[in-house]
Amino acid sequence: MVGYPETLTDPSYTGQILVLTFPLIGNYGIEKEIEINSTFFESIGIKISGLIISDYSNDFSHWNAFNPLSRWMEKYNIPGLCEVDTRELTKLIRENGTMLGKIELDTDPIDFFNPDTINLFEKVATKDVVEYGKGKTILLYDCGCKENIVRNIVSRGYKVKRVPWNYDYKQTDFDAVLFSNGPGNPEMYHDLVNTAKEIITLGKPILGICMGHQIVSLAAGAKTYKMKYGHRSQNQPVINKKNNRCFVTSQNHGFAVDTQTLPKEWDVWFENLNDKTNEGIIHKELPIMSVQFHPEAAPGPVDTEFIFDEFLSKIK
C-alpha cells in the first residue's frame, strides 16, 4: 500500500508492466532525484515498462516530495494508465499467471514484446566493478541488485564489491559472496549457476536473495518450477522451520525452488505460510544460505534484516 518509488525503481521489475492492487497511488509524490540515490529509490531511474493503477493523485502532499509521480514517469518516458479496475486485472493475472501486455493508443498500435527472450541482467545489472564502504569484502553478483542490499551491508561495516553477473571471481580476493535479486527466469542463467557451483566449493559464506536464492538452489542441485500464484506483495508470511518464528516479508517472484529436489546436505530454512512453498535453504555444514524473500525490504517490512547479520557473522 506504500512504496511505489521503491517498486518502480526495483530492477527485478525490468521489462514488466506493473499493476498495483492498492487503488490510491501518487499520494506522497516523488522526492527529488539526486546523483547518489537516496533511500527512496532502489536504482537510478524507473525500471518498469508501464504502470497500471486505479486512482491517481496528481495533487500530492509530503514534506519531502518534489514532483508528482506522473512527471517523474514522463522524465523516463514510462507510460501509465489510471482509472482501471485493477482488482479485475489482478484476478486475471492471478488465474493465468504473468502474461504479455501492452499499452497502446488506438491510433498507434504496437506489437507485444516478451522481455523473457532477452538477457535482462545485461540490461539492468552493473557492467563495471564498483566498490562501496570499507571492511571485509563481500563480492556482490549483481543480477539487477536493489540498492538497499548494498546499503544494508555497508551500514554494517563491510565493503561491497559489486560485479557484473558474468564476472570471474578468481580475479579478486573476497570474504563472502552475495547473489542478488534480479529479473527474469532463473533457468536462463546457466553460466551464473555454474559460477555459483564453483564458489560453493570454496566454503566461504554465501547469501542468495530472490533470484540469487534460485541461483544458489540450482547450483546446489535443486530444481525450480513456475508457481500457479506468484508472490508479489509486501505481506508474504514466512516461517523459519528451525524455530517456528514467523516474519512478514516483501516478495516478487514467479518461480519457486522444489524442495523435493534439494540434496541431503541442505535443509529447508524458510517456508511460505500461505502456500507452503520454499522461502529459503541453508547448508547443513557450510556457511551458505539463501532466501526467496527480500530481507532488504524497500518497500515492505524490515522484519528479516537479521538475515544480513546472520550471513555476515559467518565471515571469519
Binding site: V2, Y28, F60
Partner: protein, 1075 residues
C-alpha cells in the same frame, strides 16, 4: 494445545458510554466464540442486557451484575474459574482487573490473567512507567511529567513551554484532558483533573503533527504482525475518537510506514504483550520525527475498526492467543486455508467518521478537541478517497447528502472561525471554504489538515461546480460523479432535478455499482468471502450467479447515537440467526463498525454499506432478493419502508402503508379516534399565535415536538406562554420543513411500555414494563421495571385491550411497541412503532422468550407458539437503568427530560424491585452505602413529596446537607439538616466547597421547571456533582424509590445469582443452541 484453562471469567464493559461503546460487545462476543470453539466453559459478567454477548447461545453463564471488584470477587468465589480475561471489556474491565490484582484477589483464588501479563498492563497504563520503559529502548515519547498538584502542573508547563496538554492516567477516551495555552488554563484544567485522580500528566503539545495508529498482534512465541495502520484526517490535538480516520495511512511513505511499524513491534516486544494492542503516534508533518503517544494493551475502538476495515478478526485471534496458541497455528478466517500470521493487503480505502449528538445537550461546547464526545461512528469503504468520504457522510444520518449539495443547515457564517476551531461540521465548512474561493494552502494553514485530504475534498467541490455549470449530466459526468461518491440525490440537487430523474438516467446508461469482496489479500489469492461493499470504481463484480439465491435482506441500525444503539443490533443479529436457522439466506446491510451485525460470520452476506434508498435498492436488485426486513434496526430502516416500497421492493412483515399510518401523526390520531382510544390532546401548528391559542385551550404544560422523531430531538415542555414562545423561536427552522406538534403534557402520570409481536393483527407475545419516573422523562432515559410493580391491574388490562385494538387495526405482522401514559386508570396512547423497540432485548431476556424469534417466524409465515404467561407469574424482577455520559459532555446540564440524553443501559435482576434496582444503580456508577446527601428538593410540591424520603434516609443515619430553601423546609418538618449556601451566594459553607471536597456521597437536585436554559444555581450544583463524580439524582420518583430500597440494603441483600439461576425454570433450553 496443552494446559488450556477449563473455565474462564470474561469481564464486559457494562453500559455503553462515550468512549466505551458497542465495540466491546463485538470484542467480547468474538472472544466467547473463540473460547467456546475450544470447549472452554465461559462465564461472562456484564450488566448490559442489550448486548449480543449476554445472549443465551454465547457464554455458558451470564451474570447481569456490576463489573466492580465487590461483585467480581463474589462471582470468583462462587464460580472458581481458573483464568480471567480483562482485555475484552474496554477500560472498565481493564481497570477492574487491575484492581482485582492489586487487592490480591486473583492470587488468593488462583485466577490467572490471560493474555498480556498484569505488569504489561500497569507499565502501559501508568504514564511514568510507560515513559521510562520507552526511554530504556530509545523510543521517543512526548516530553511530559506526572504531577500531583496544581502548582507543579503550572511549573512543568512553563518548563515545557506552552501550549501543553494535560492528561489523566488510566482514563478512557481522554477524559478530563485538554490543551492549555496559558497559566490560567492550566490552573483550571489541572484542578478539575486532579479531582478525578491523584496524578495528572503535563505533556508537550505536538500541534499540527499527523496522528497515526497501528494495530499490533503478538503471540507467546514472540511472532508479531501489524494488522492495519490508520491515519487521522484531523491533526494531533483532536482525540482519535473524535477524528475522521483513514485506513490504511495515505500520506506516509514506505520509509515512514515501516519505521513506525518497526517501532511498534519493538515496543510491543518490550512490553511483552500477548494478544492485541494499539499504538498511537504523532508524526511530524515536516520531517520523519515521531513520538509514541500511547499504547493500549487491550482491544479498543480502533481494533474493532481495524477488524472491520481489513476483515482480520482481531478479537477472535487475540482470545486464541490468550489461551496459548501461536499465530501460525490459527487460520485466516476469510481464506480458511492461509494462517492468521499475515498482514492484510487492502485494495480499497476505509474512512471512519464519528457521530455526535451534541445538539441534544444544553450548554455543551460544540467544539471538538482532546477529549471524546462522539457517541458513535460509521465506516465507509471505497476505491477512491472521495467515494468513501461521501458515503461515510451519508451513513452518519445527520441529514447530509454528502460533502456537498446539502441544504442550508450545512452552510455556516463564520468559516474562518470554524476552520480554526473544529466542530462536527468541519467537513462541510471545508467544502464551503473551497466554494468561497479559499485555497488548499489557506485551509491547511487554518486547520493543519494534510493537504492531500484537502485536495480530495476540493475534487468533490470541483465536480459539483461542473455539474452546476452544465445543469445536465452526460454519461461521462454522471459516471465521474458516481466514482467520486455522489448519490443520485446529490447530482439531482446540483442540476435542479429530482432523485428519480437521475436514477432513471443512470439506469438507462446502465451505471450500477460493483460488489467487491473484502478478502484480506487484495485478490492475490482466491477467497470465498461474503464480506462485500459497493463501488463505482470497478468494472467487474465479485459476486457470482450462484450468489443470487433470493436472500432476505435485514437493514441494520446505522451509527450508534442517543436513542438508537446496541439494542437494535441485538435485534438484527438475532433476526439473522433465526433466518439462517429456518433455511433462509440472510443479508445484512449496515455501516457501523462497533457492531456484531457487521461480523461477516453472522450472515450469509454482509454489505458494509449505506442505509439509503439508493444503496438498498442496488443491493436488492443485484442479489435478486426476496424481500427486506426493516423492523429490526430501529428508526433508520423503519423510515425506509415507504420509499423502498414505492420502488417496488418487497417489505416483509407489517405492510408499509400501515407503518405510514402509525408514523404519520394525523393519520394515527384519526385512527385512534376511530377506535375510541384516548390520546393526549394535540394539534399541528404553523404559527406562534396558533400555538399560544391551542396551548391555552388545553392548558399548560404542553409538549412541543416535530413528527417523525426518534429520541425526542428538538422536543421540549413549556409551562407558560413565555416558555412556549422561547421554545418555538428556537425550533422555527424545524416547523418550516416538518409539521410541529403541540400536545397536552400530563403531570404526575405513569408511563408504560407495551412490547409485542403480532401475527395478522393478533398479538401473540407481549410484555408490559413500567417506568419508575413519572411521565416527562424520555422512555430511553427512564428506569424500566418488568413486571410492573406499582401499576393497577385495571390499568394493565386497559393497556392490553388497547394494544389488541391497535394491532388489529394496523394488521401488525411482526414486532411493535406502544407507549402508554396512565393516570388513575385512565390510559392514553402516546406513540406506536411498528418495529422492534429499544426494550426488546430487555423484555426478551427478562422473560426468557425471544420476541425476535417469534417475529421472524411470523415474517416467514412459519408456525409459532403464543405466550400465555401472566405478568404476575415471575419470581423475580428486572430493572433497566440508563447510563449517562454527562461527565464527558463538558457543560451539559445533567438532567433528564423529554429529550433523550442517556448513551447506554444496564439491567439487573433481583428477588424484588429493591434488589434489582440497587444492582442496576451500582452498575451505572452509584456506590452504597451512602453516609451523606446534599439535597435541593425543587418546588414546594416536590419538597412535600420528598419529605417521607428524607425521613427514611434520616432513619438510616444519613447526614443531610441542603440548600437554603430545602433546609428551611426540612427544619420546619423536624429533620436534622446542615444548611449550605448556593454557589451564587458566595457565602460559606458553600455547596461548591462541599462537592469539591467530596463531602457528600449523593446529590439529589430536583429541577424547578422543565426548561432551565440559564446557568442557574441548580445547574451549577448538578454540573459540579457530575464533574466531581458524585452520583446525582434529578428525579423525584427515583429519589423516593432509592430511599425505600436503601432501607432494605445490607451486605447480603444483593445476591450473586446468574441470569440462568433466575430464569431457568421458565425456559430449560434455548432454540438457538443448535445454530
Amino acid at each position: 494445545m496443552t494446559n488450556k484453562p477449563k473455565k474462564i471469567l470474561i469481564l464486559g464493559s457494562s453500559a455503553l458510554k462515550i468512549g466505551e461503546a458497542g465495540e466491546f460487545d463485538y470484542s467480547g462476543s468474538q472472544a466467547i466464540k473463540a473460547l467456546k470453539e475450544e470447549g472452554i466453559y465461559t462465564v461472562l459478567i456484564n450488566p448490559n442486557i442489550a448486548t449480543i454477548q449476554t445472549s443465551e447461545y454465547l457464554a455458558d453463564k451470564v451474570y447481569l451484575l456490576p463489573v466492580n471488584v465487590e461483585f467480581v470477587t463474589k462471582i470468583i468465589q462462587k464460580e472458581k474459574p481458573d483464568a480471567i480475561l480483562i482485555s475484552f471489556g474496554g477500560q472498565t474491565a481493564l481497570n477492574c482487573g487491575m484492581e482485582l490484582h492489586e487487592k490480591g484477589i486473583l492470587n488468593k483464588y488462583n485466577v490467572k490473567i490471560l493474555g498480556s501479563p498484569i505488569k504489561t498492563v500497569i507499565d502501559t497504563e501508568d504514564r511514568e512507567k510507560f515513559k521510562k520503559n520507552l526511554d530504556s529502548i530509545n523510543v521517543k515519547v512526548a516530553k511530559s511529567k506526572a504531577v500531583t498538584s496544581i502548582q507543579d502542573a503550572i511549573k512543568t508547563s512553563e518548563e515545557l513551554g506552552f501550549p501543553v496538554l494535560i492528561r489523566i492516567a488510566f482514563a478512557l477516551g481522554g477524559l478530563g484532558s485538554g490543551v492549555c495555552r496559558n497559566k490560567n488554563e492550566v490552573e483550571k484544567l489541572a484542578s478539575k483533573a486532579l479531582s478525578y485522580t491523584s496524578q495528572i500528566l503535563v505533556e508537550e503539545y505536538l500541534e499540527g503533527w499527523k496522528e497515526i495508529e497501528y494495530e499490533v498482534v503478538r503471540d507467546k512465541y514472540d511472532n508479531c504482525i501489524t494488522v492495519c495502520n490508520m491515519e487521522n484526517f484531523d491533526p494531533m490535538g483532536i482525540h482519535t475518537g473524535e477524528s475522521i480516520v483513514v485506513a490504511p495511512s495515505q500520506t506516509l511513505t514506505n520509509h515512514e510506514y515501516h519505521k513506525l511499524r518497526e517501532i511498534a513491534i519493538k515496543v510491543i516486544r518490550h512490553f511483552g504483550i500477548i494478544g492485541e494492542c494499539n499504538i498511537q503516534y504523532a508524526l511530524d508533518k515536516n520531517s520523519d520525527d515521531y513520538r509514541v503517544i500511547e499504547v493500549n494493551a487491550r482491544l479498543s475502538r480502533s481494533s474493532a475498526l481495524a477488524s472491520k476495515a481489513t476483515g482480520y478478526p482481531l478479537a477472535f485471534v487475540a482470545a486464541k492467543l490468550a489461551i496459548g496458541y501461536g499465530l501460525y497455528e490459527l487460520k485466516n478466517n476469510v481464506t480458511k486455508t492461509t494462517p492468521a500470521f499475515f498482514e492484510p493487503a487492502l485494495d480499497y480505502c476505509v474512512i471512519k467518521i464519528p457521530r455526535w449528538d451534541l445538539k441534544k445537550f444544553r450548554n455543551v461546547s460544540k467544539r471538538i478537541g482532546s477529549s471524546m464526545k462522539s457517541v458513535g461512528e460509521v465506516m465507509a469503504i471505497g476505491r477512491k478517497f472521495e467515494e468513501a468520504l461521501q458515503k461515510a457522510v451519508r451513513m452518519l444520518d445527520i441529514g447530509a447528502n454528502g460533502v456537498v449539495c446539502n441544504d442550508k443547515k450545512f452552510q455556516f457564517d463564520d468559516i474562518e472561525l470554524f476552520l480554526k476551531e473544529p466542530g462536527e461540521e468541519r467537513l462541510f465548512v471545508i467544502a464551503q471554504a473551497f466554494e468561497n474561493g479559499y485555497s488548499v494552502e489557506q485551509i491547511h494553514e487554518l486547520t493543519n489538515i494534510n493537504k492531500w485530504f484537502l485536495h480530495k475534498i476540493k475534487n468533490i467541490v470541483n465536480h459539483k461546480r461542473l455539474l452546476e455549470i452544465d445543469q445536465r449530466v452526460t454519461k461521462d459526468s454522471l459516471l465521474h460523479a458516481k466514482k467520486l461518491g455522489f448519490s443520485d440525490l446529490q447530482i439531482a440537487k446540483a442540476i435542479n432535478k429530482n432523485e428519480e430523474d437521475i436514477r432513471q438516467i443512470r439506469v438507462y446508461e446502465n451505471i450500477h455499482p460493483s460488489a467487491l469482496q473484502i478478502d484480506t489479500l487484495a485478490a492475490e489469492y482466491p477467497a470465498k468471502t461474503n464480506y462485500l461493499y459497493l463501488t463505482y470504481n470497478a468494472s467487474h463484480d465479485d459476486l457470482s450467479k450462484d450468489d443470487k439465491l433470493n436472500p432476505i435482506i435485514i437493514l441494520g441500525s446505522g451509527p450508534y447515537r442517543i436513542g438508537s444503539s446496541v439494542e437494535f443490533d441485538w435485534c438484527c443479529v438475532n433476526a439473522g440467526r433465526f433466518l439462517r436457522k429456518y433455511g433462509e439466506k440472510s443479508v445484512m446491510i449496515n455501516c457501523n463498525p462497533e457492531t456484531v451485525s457487521t461480523d461477516y460470520d453472522e450472515f450469509d452476506f454482509l454489505f458494509f454499506e449505506e442505509l439509503t434508498l439508493e444503496t438498498v435498492e442496488e443491493i436488492y436488485r443485484k442479489l435478486n432478493a426476496r424481500g427486506v426486513i426493516i423492523s429490526m434496526g430501529g428508526q433508520v430502516p423503519n423510515n425506509l419502508a415507504v420509499p423502498l416500497n414505492k420502488r417496488g421492493i418487497t417489505i416483509l412483515g407489517t405492510s408499509p402503508d400501515k407503518i405510514d399510518l402509525a408514523e404519520n401523526r394525523s393519520k394515527f390520531s384519526s385512527l385512534l379516534d376511530k377506535l375510541n382510544i384516548e390520546q393526549p390532546e394535540w394539534s399541528v401548528l404553523s404559527t406562534v399565535e396558533e400555538a399560544l391559542r391551542f396551548a391555552n385551550s388545553i392548558g399548560y404544560p404542553v409538549l412541543v415536538r416535530p413528527s417523525y422523531v426518534l429520541s425526542g430531538a428538538a422536543m421540549g415542555v413549556a409551562s407558560n406562554d413565555q416558555e412556549l414562545i422561547t421554545f418555538l423561536q428556537k425550533a422555527v427552522e424545524l416547523s418550516k420543513e416538518f409539521p410541529t406538534v403541540i400536545s397536552k403534557f400530563l403531570e404526575n402520570a405513569k408511563e408504560l411500555e407495551f412490547d409485542g409481536v403480532a401475527s395478522n393483527g393478533k398479538i401473540v407475545k407481549y410484555a408490559i414494563s413500567e417506568h419508575v419516573e413519572n411521565a416527562g422523562v424520555h422512555s430511553g432515559d427512564a428506569t424500566l421495571v418488568l413486571p410492573p410493580q406499582r401499576t393497577y391491574l385495571e390499568t394493565i388490562r386497559q393497556i392490553k385491550k388497547t394494544s389488541e385494538k391497535i394491532a388489529e387495526a394496523l394488521s401488525i405482522n411482526g414486532p411493535f411497541n406502544i407507549q402508554f401514559i396512565a393516570k388513575q386508570n385512565n390510559v392514553k396512547v402516546i406513540e406506536c412503532n411498528l418495529r422492534a423497540s429499544r426494550s426488546f432485548p430487555f423484555v426478551s431476556k427478562t422473560i426468557k422468550d425471544n420476541f425476535i424469534e417469534t417475529a421472524v417466524k411470523i415474517i416467514l409465515d412459519k408456525p409459532f407458539d403464543t405466550s400465555e404467561t401472566s405478568l404476575f407469574e415471575y419470581d423475580y424482577v428486572a430493572v433497566k437503568a440508563p447510563e449517562f455520559s454527562f461527565t464527558r459532555l463538558e457543560g451539559a446540564d445533567p438532567t433528564t427530560g423529554v429529550e433523550m440524553a442517556s448513551t447506554g443501559e444496564v439491567a439487573c435482576f433481583g428477588d424484588d424491585f429493591n434488589e434489582a434496582f440497587l444492582k442496576a444503580l451500582i452498575s451505572v456508577g452509584y456506590k452504597f452505602p451512602i453516609k451523606s446527601v446534599l439535597i435541593s428538593s425543587g418546588t414546594i410540591e416536590s419538597k412535600a413529596e420528598l419529605l417521607e424520603t428524607s425521613r427514611i434516609l434520616t432513619k438510616l443515619g444519613i447526614k443531610f446537607y441542603a440548600t437554603p430553601g430545602t433546609a428551611k423546609f426540612m427544619i420546619n418538618n423536624n429533620i436534622t439538616v446542615e444548611k449550605v449556601n448556593w454557589p451564587s451566594q458566595k457565602k460559606k459553607p458553600n455547596v461548591i466547597d462541599l462537592i469539591k471536597s467530596k463531602g457528600v456521597d449523593l446529590v439529589i437536585n430536583i429541577p424547578k421547571s422543565f426548561q432551565e436554559d440559564e446557568l442557574t444555581n441548580d445547574y451549577m450544583v448538578r454540573r459540579l456533582a457530575v464533574d466531581y463524580k458524585i452520583p446525582l439524582i434529578t428525579n423525584r420518583q427515583l429519589a423516593m424509590r432509592l430511599a425505600e430500597a436503601l432501607e432494605k440494603y445490607d451486605d447480603d441483600f444483593l445476591q450473586v445469582k446468574s441470569w440462568e439461576e433466575y430464569t431457568e425454570i421458565r425456559s430449560p433450553n434455548s432454540e438457538l443452541e443448535s445454530i
